[in-house]
Amino acid sequence: MPDVKQYFNVYSKYNLIMKKLLLSAVLAVSTLGSCSNESAAVNTVESMKSPQMENFDKAFKSLGDPQNRPTEEERKRSTSELSDRRKALLVPASKELILSTGVTEAELTRKTGGDMSQTIVWATQIYMQKSDEIRKNLKSEK
C-alpha cells in the first residue's frame, strides 16, 4: 500500500512548482506589458500633441508646398519678415490653437487687434510651451 504521507508530499511539491510557474508567467507577462508600454511612451511627443497643435504644424509645413514658396517679388524684398501672403496661410491654425487654450474670440480680437503677426507669435509661444510640457512629462515618466 503506498504511503499516504509520501503521496501527499509529492502532490504538494507539484502544487508548489505549478504555483511558481504560474507566478513567473504572470511576472513575465506583466514585465513584457510594461516594456511595450515604455516603448509606446518613447517617441510620442508627436502622438501627444493636441489636434490643434498638429494643425499648427501642418500649416507651417504647407509653406513648403510649391504654390506657397516665395514668389520672385517676395524673394527680392530686403527684409527677413515673412510676407503677408504667407503669413495668411498660418493664421487659421494659429487662431484655432489660441482658442483651444480657453481664450475667447473676443479676447483674441482685443489682444491682437486682428493683426496676423501678433496672432501667429502668440500661437507659437503656446505651441512652444505645450511641446516643452509634453517633453518634460515624457521624461519624468521614464
Binding site: 516665395p70 530686403s78 527677413s80 519678415e81 515673412l82 507669435v121 507659437t124 512652444m128
Partner: protein, 177 residues
Amino acid sequence: MKKISLLLSALAGVLSFAQSSALFVENYSIYNAVGRLRTGMPGGAAGPYMFAAPNPPFGSYTVPAGNSTQYNTFDTSGTVALPIVKWYVGDATNPANNGTFAYNDPFITSVMNPSNEWGGFHFWLVDPSTNNTVDSYELGDPTIYPGFSPSLTGSVSSADWFIISTPTGAITYMLIF
C-alpha cells in the same frame, strides 16, 4: 507670501515677453540637417558672434530628419529637445572673448544675449541611411551674414528662414522641407 509669488510670476511673464527673438526650428525633410547654426551682430556690425557646438550623439550640430526644437534665449539653449550645451564664440574686435562657453555661462547671458541675433544655418542635408549629402545651404539673414539667403530651393528639398515681428517681440523661424 502668495501675493509676492504672484507678483514675481507676473513680472517674470512680462520679462520673458520682453526677451528678444526666440528660434523655432522644424526639419520636415527625411534628411539630417548638419552644420553650423550661427548667431551674429545685427546689421553685420563688428563684434562677437558664435555658433552651436555639436548636440550629442552627433559630431556636428544636427537637426535630425523629422525633428523640431525651440530656443528661447542663447543662455537657455542647453535644456531643450535638441540641446546646445556649448557655444563657440569668436570676436575679432576683442580676441580675449574667443573661446568655448557653457550655454549658461554668465558671459553668454550678459554679453551675447543682448548683442546677438539668430543669424543663419550653414548646413548640409545628409541621407541618414547612406550618409550621402543631397543638398547644401547657407540659410539665414543676409544683413547679418552676407551670402546667406532667407529662402532657398535645393535639388530634393527647400528651406526658409524668416522672422515674424510684433511690437512686443519677434520670433525667428527656420523650416526645412
